[in-house]
Amino acid sequence: SKEPQGEMVGNSLVKLFFDNNGFLWKVEMNGVSANVSQKFLFYEATKEGDKQTSGAYISAPLIQGANIRSFKIDLKIYDGPLVKEIHQHFNNWTSQVIRIYEGVSRVEFEWLIGPIPVGDRLGKEVVTVFSSDIRNQYVFHTDSNGREMINRKRNIMKEIPGNYYPITGRIVLEDDKKRMTLLNDRAQGGSCLGDGTLELMLHRRLLHDDSRGLGEPLNDTTVARGKIYMILNSADNDTATEERLIQQELHLPVWLFFSRSFLNVN
């Protein structure tokens, strides 16, 4: 119940609060304040020989769920008039830059993951989980190919993957007061596995073929880098329209061309 000590990084529209271990614990924007924390976890793939291994087609994590891997993170804060960045170093294969731009009411999380270590001979599926104090009562919403939103209900299926849905544009949860939206920059799997939490799967490295026809393991030895955008809003105003326009902007960014400057460019 006591508020953690730590750092606040903010601009005119958004305030982010970090505890002394370097983790995000509260976000304030659009007149809303919510306890929001974020973690990187991974699911261990089932071993070869078990009933069904994880692979290119199948995600079959062990029932007990994700492992927690980071307890304290190094934090570097870069402050400036246009953009404030918080560089977080979780471990030697997981890092992230949290970014807020002046005049933009959303938070950008640029994650960098990999190469995923498999020295323990276990494939891993890396996810990030945003936990909040929003009581969404098992209901969350995912987009359908960036168009209409579909209501989803948690725990229709018992297993973790059974609660996963395709997230091509955004995943949302809300209660009668607050709404938390995550927009992603590529098609990913995502879910809401706990009350007030949103989860997106970011990277996978699996060591066994899942016998669904591919004939080789999804042994992705590379690094993956991408962005998740978070918008915290009150639940009462019509934010869905605004989110849809922002989603278009994120998926159709401006295209830059460089050249030498020359006379009478105008």
Partner: protein, 179 residues
């Protein structure tokens, strides 16, 4: 149009769920990447030809860095001076977006097409990204950030300067605090 047809064809191929989900052998994924990147390069050439129609430059003098998302741009990595950034907005409405251009450490002055100075800020890249030498073999360890306001097509001038210009027109360094 020939080049654009190539891009259309490759996007047609990308409709296959294997291209989207990666449910295919590694060499097939590599081939999807090859198809898409060669089509993008061709389409890029068409875009440059269009820009050439608007300017007195030749197509070869326009560069579009397709790896800006990992802060790689050969054109700007060597202290860009007298640089023109042409900004194309694919949306059907005017937009204001922050752009990030990989640059070496230094001082820069950004001006919009009316010649007004635009606020800019120099932000260091994350150490973890710089450490990926095999991914980013180039020099730049900073991004120059400024907000571009574009209707359909806009342009900004970037000049490298030596810091003792009028301070509010020169890029601001980010202040670092380590916890």
């Amino acid at each position: 149009m020939n080049n654009l047809n190539k891009l259309k064809q490759s996007l047609g191929i990308m409709q296959h769920h294997d291209a989207i989900t990666g449910t295919c052998k590694q060499h097939v994924v590599n081939d999807y990447t090859r198809i898409l990147s060669s089509a993008l390069t061709l389409a890029e050439h068409t875009a440059k030809m269009a820009l050439q129609k608007l300017t007195s430059l030749k197509t070869g003098q326009f560069v579009s860095c397709l790896q800006l998302n990992i802060s790689i741009c050969e054109f700007t990595q060597n202290r860009p001076n007298n640089l023109l950034v042409t900004v194309y907005n694919p949306l059907t409405r005017a937009t204001k977006q922050y752009v990030r251009i990989p640059v070496p450490r230094g001082y820069y002055m950004v001006k919009d097409f009316k010649g007004n100075a635009v606020k800019s800020q120099l932000v260091p890249l994350p150490e973890e990204l710089i450490a990926l030498k095999y991914l980013r073999p180039n020099l730049t360890q900073y991004d120059l950030v400024f907000e571009a306001e574009v209707e359909k097509l806009g342009h900004y001038h970037i000049k490298s300067t030596n810091g003792d210009f009028e301070s509010q027109n020169v890029s601001v360094d980010s202040e670092m605090k380590e916890l």
